[in-house]
């Protein structure tokens, strides 16, 4: 029955090679990043990057983690990410499901209604004014609500729902199941892989978001982690700018004391950390998708 065993082996071998090579390609800069963040600033400045650690230093991490703001930032970001992701996925599923139900005649118009916002926007000022008028200003909802609906993921979800075997749903309809039952009992369970993917990316989006924290928080006494990070980077720049200013004179700050280069590296490591932990959890659902998919009827 089987075709040439050699061919199969070659094929498998090629696959393993491609994956391994690309993995290394992706890992290398990250490896460099971690190594650099742990390298003494002076060595980094004098000799540039290197593949193996030289003078080990935790100085950069001490700078990044100094003080309470980073800790608070972690907590704000965690809260925003968890709540935001949950709400976002729930709301987007609702919309995507409506778009995927074939008996709903206006789903095309509705798709267009959503798609249109992907291409057109009113611009920064009216958006800012609208957010302020909706009360999305200087409170934690300003970090959550503006990012809840992402047309991109709505369409991904819709597409996946579309691709589910129609017969199951049809038979459910014949059995008298309501839309609610179909969605919760059939569509969502079968959609675990895509739900996990969407949740992962939405979570990453929330975790990495600094824009709303910068624009919509002014007097509030909390900031998400990314804004704290931005401030740390900016304070390096602030010192430089101070030195570069027209008519600067006696600002006696030595910028060499700040491990600027390794700090940026350390910042990336620090911010990636928690969200990477989420990854294996989500990954289970990709694997599980296989078994869920095979359970029919």
């Amino acid at each position: 029955m089987r075709r040439s065993k050699l061919g199969e082996r070659l094929f498998a071998g090629a696959n393993y090679t491609v994956v391994t090579l690309f993995t290394v390609f992706c890992l290398l800069p990250f490896y460099l990043l971690v190594i650099s963040s742990l390298t003494d600033q002076k060595v980094l400045q004098l000799d540039g990057y290197s593949l193996w650690p030289r003078k080990f230093s935790l100085e950069a991490y001490k700078w990044v983690l100094r003080g309470k703001p980073v800790l608070v930032g972690y907590q704000v970001s965690t809260f925003v990410t968890v709540v935001g992701t949950f709400l976002s996925v729930v709301l987007m599923c609702g919309v995507a499901y409506a778009l995927s139900v074939k008996k709903f005649k206006f789903r095309n118009q509705l798709s267009f209604y959503i798609y249109f916002t992907m291409v057109f926007s009113g611009g920064l000022i009216p958006w800012f004014i609208t957010c302020r008028n909706l009360g999305l200003y200087d409170n934690i909802w300003a970090l959550i609500v503006p990012m809840l609906m992402n047309p991109w993921w709505i369409f991904i979800l819709r597409n996946y729902f579309n691709g589910l075997p129609g017969e199951i749903m049809e038979s459910a309809v014949i059995d008298g199941a309501s839309d609610w039952t179909i969605l919760t009992r059939i569509v969502l369970p079968l959609s675990m892989p895509v739900l996990a993917t969407t949740a992962l990316f939405v979570a990453v989006g929330y975790w990495n978001d600094w824009w709303h924290g910068v624009i919509l928080l002014d007097f509030a006494d909390f900031r998400p982690l990314q804004v704290i990070i931005l401030r740390i980077i900016n304070s390096i720049r602030a010192i430089r700018q101070a030195m570069a200013m027209e008519g600067g004179g006696a600002l006696a700050i030595s910028s060499a004391q700040i491990p600027a280069k390794s700090i940026r590296m350390a910042i990336v490591v620090v911010t990636i950390g928690p969200i990477i932990l989420l990854y294996p959890f989500v990954q289970r659902y990709f694997i599980k998708g296989l078994t869920v998919g095979s359970v029919k009827g």
Binding site: K42, Q45, L46, K68, P69, L71, V72, Q75, V76, T78, F79, V82, V83, T85, F86, L124, F128, I129, R132, L134, G135, Y137, N139, I140, W141, R185, P189, L190, G213, V214, I215, D218, F222, V227, L230, N234, S235, I236, A238, R240, Q241, A242, A244, M245, E246, G247, G248, G249, A250, L251, A252, I253, S254, S255, A256, Q257, F281, K288, V292, V295
Partner: protein, 592 residues
């Protein structure tokens, strides 16, 4: 089966969500407050949706006065301009200032809003109608745009009511900083010739090693660069980056030094940076706009940059990284031997040498006055037009602006107030000494410590304390660049072109000029081809048309202001003639 399994999974997901919330909320008080607020907001929202609008109004209104208590003035601080980034360092000072004000009968409360991304947020706040009171604004050319869009409140009729402000800033500086008939901010006059403290920082220890210290001329600098190239393997003789580049030494885009054309070229030259053109020669009354690249100085700079590039004196790739300058990248780590910087003589000893020594313990940095203006080798126009202003928001109520001015009036009335605003608290942020000196405290972190330079404080620089260990040269330079007596009066300084009418063209020219200048600056292009490309790019963007418009405007302005213009021009010409006739060296001697 499928649904059972997945429901459990969903429960797990929700459990994780809950756990995350708990983890997020579990620890310090701040986050608990956050969550409490959140819950409150949530309750409000779910209970009555219509209330949203009211809630919103309340939050916006918070910046305006409460029924009783001090009037709140909100200061938008563009962190990064000589101001520490941290709210933790700024807020205590704002509180201390408010307390002091109130105890002295000035019923104001100062709140500082520190923007994380001033480039975006600052214009956005104006455009969205936010009602903050005042802000620090620089430089001059950005202010033009804000003014043209109606964001800034003119202070013409107001400033006279505040005697301390007028006295400190001086009526003369105030007059010079009227723009097109109005005063759009409080200027902070002090330096009248910041250029003259030199532009080149170099490795003193290397120059000593070659027996060349101190460097005095450009020729000597080139010899030094050659020595470095031959003797220091792996070291770049001269570091160049887009901000502080070789052109910074010369003509474009800001009309710096060139001995033979110098008096004509340096000083406030209206419209210059924006349009790749400037007025040819004010002293010799050649009052026409000419293209920058037709000037010898521009070509000389392009050729020098090219030569240096070909000889291997400058780095081959222009440094283009964000937030990285050639200093941190090259000079401090000892990878280059010379570099351009403003006020090089002041800064080389104050800031650069300590930074250098943390990498290269035996390293020493020196600056040199390559245009030799202090030695009498050249003379330039004094600059009264400032780069730095405190501007007042036209969206806010007039009373708010008045309250803001009252703050500055109070501030400038007493050196103790100024010290608090500039240096922080005595004994906490710095140590106060006699004779306007100060000392930094040991164990105080320089990056988080509170400090505000005069030019971002609305305070003239003469109220700023000088470090206790400042050298004689430092003081001499300071005296030279702050005393108008050493410079020429500029008869065109009160003129200001109307940029609004050619806004689109200016934008296109700005883009074109950035693209065409930088390769010339790094010597990456052959000067002839590079300059031709520069001409083409700017003319395509509409330079000739804009020049014609500006020229007409300038001619009209001169006719309208003929008396003052002629008077000032004659004074400048007389002073220039004296300088030309007199032996330059004597001048230096006379000052010693």
């Amino acid at each position: 089966m499928a649904s059972k399994l997945s429901r459990r999974d969903m429960l797990r997901l929700m459990g994780l969500a809950g756990a995350g919330v708990l983890a997020g909320c579990a620890t310090p008080e701040t986050i608990i407050q956050t969550v409490e607020k959140t819950v409150e907001v949530e309750v409000e929202k779910t209970v009555e949706v219509e209330k949203l609008v009211e809630v919103e109004v309340e939050t916006v209104v918070t910046a305006t006065p409460r029924p009783e208590g001090p009037k709140v003035i909100t200061y938008v601080d563009s962190a990064g301009f000589g101001v520490p980034q941290y709210r933790e360092t700024i807020n205590p000072i704002a509180e201390a200032l408010s307390e002091k004000m109130q105890s002295e009968g000035v019923n104001l409360e100062l709140r500082v809003l520190l923007l994380d991304d001033p480039n975006t947020e600052y214009p956005l706040l104006y455009a969205s109608g936010a009602d903050f009171t005042f802000a620090f604004d620089a430089p001059w050319k950005n202010m033009n745009a804000l003014r043209d869009q109606g964001y800034l409140r003119p202070l013409d009729d107001l400033v006279g009511d505040y005697p301390n402000i007028v006295k400190a800033i001086t009526p003369e500086v105030i007059e010079y900083n009227y723009m097109r008939g109005h005063l759009y901010g409080l200027p902070t006059g002090f330096y009248v010739a910041s250029h003259s403290a030199g532009h080149v920082v170099y490795r003193q220890d290397l120059a000593e090693k070659y027996g060349m210290y101190p460097l005095k001329t450009m020729d000597e600098l080139e010899l030094f660069l050659e020595e470095v190239k031959n003797n220091e393997p792996g070291m770049i003789p001269f570091g160049a980056d887009p901000t502080f580049n070789t052109f910074y030494l010369g003509a474009a885009p800001w009309s710096w030094y060139q001995p033979e054309e110098y008096p004509a070229k340096y000083g406030y030259n209206p419209g210059n940076a924006m349009i790749g053109a400037g007025i040819e020669d004010i002293i010799r009354e050649k009052l026409t706009y000419v293209d920058s690249e037709t000037q010898d100085s521009f070509r000389a700079q392009a050729e020098r940059a090219r030569q240096w590039n070909e000889k291997g004196y400058v780095n081959k790739d222009m440094l283009q990284m964000l937030e990285v300058n050639a200093f941190d990248e090259y000079f401090n780590p000892g990878k280059c031997a010379a570099i351009t910087y403003n006020e090089a003589i002041l800064k080389s000893k104050l800031q650069i040498q300590p930074a250098l020594q943390s990498y290269v313990p035996e390293g020493k940095a020196a600056g040199f006055d390559e245009n030799q203006s202090r030695a009498g080798g050249s003379i330039a126009f004094a600059v009264f037009k400032q780069w730095n202003f405190q501007v007042f928001n036209a969206n806010s109520a007039l009373e708010d602006t008045k309250a803001g001015l009252e703050f500055f009036d109070w501030l400038l009335g007493d050196q103790d107030n100024i010290d608090l605003w500039l240096m922080g608290v005595d004994g906490v942020n710095y140590k106060k000494l006699d004779n306007m000196r100060y000392e930094d405290l040991p164990d105080v972190d320089g990056t988080t410590n509170y400090r505000r330079r005069w030019y971002v404080a609305g305070v003239p620089g003469r109220f700023e304390r000088v470090p206790a260990d400042a050298s004689d040269e430092f003081l001499e330079v300071l005296e030279y660049i702050t005393n108008p007596e050493y410079h020429l009066p500029n008869p065109l300084e009160l003129y200001e072109p109307n940029r609004k009418v050619v806004e689109t063209e200016l934008g296109q020219m700005d883009a074109a000029s950035k693209e065409a200048t930088l390769p010339l600056v790094a010597g990456q292009l052959d000067p002839v081809a590079g300059i031709a490309a520069y001409t083409q790019a700017l003319d395509d963007a509409g330079r000739q048309e804009v020049k014609a418009i500006f020229q007409e405007e300038l001619d009209t302005w001169i006719t309208e202001n003929e008396a003052t213009f002629t008077d000032q021009l004659q004074r400048a010409q007389t002073k220039f003639a004296e300088w030309e006739a007199g032996p330059h060296a004597d001048w230096l001697e006379s000052r010693k």
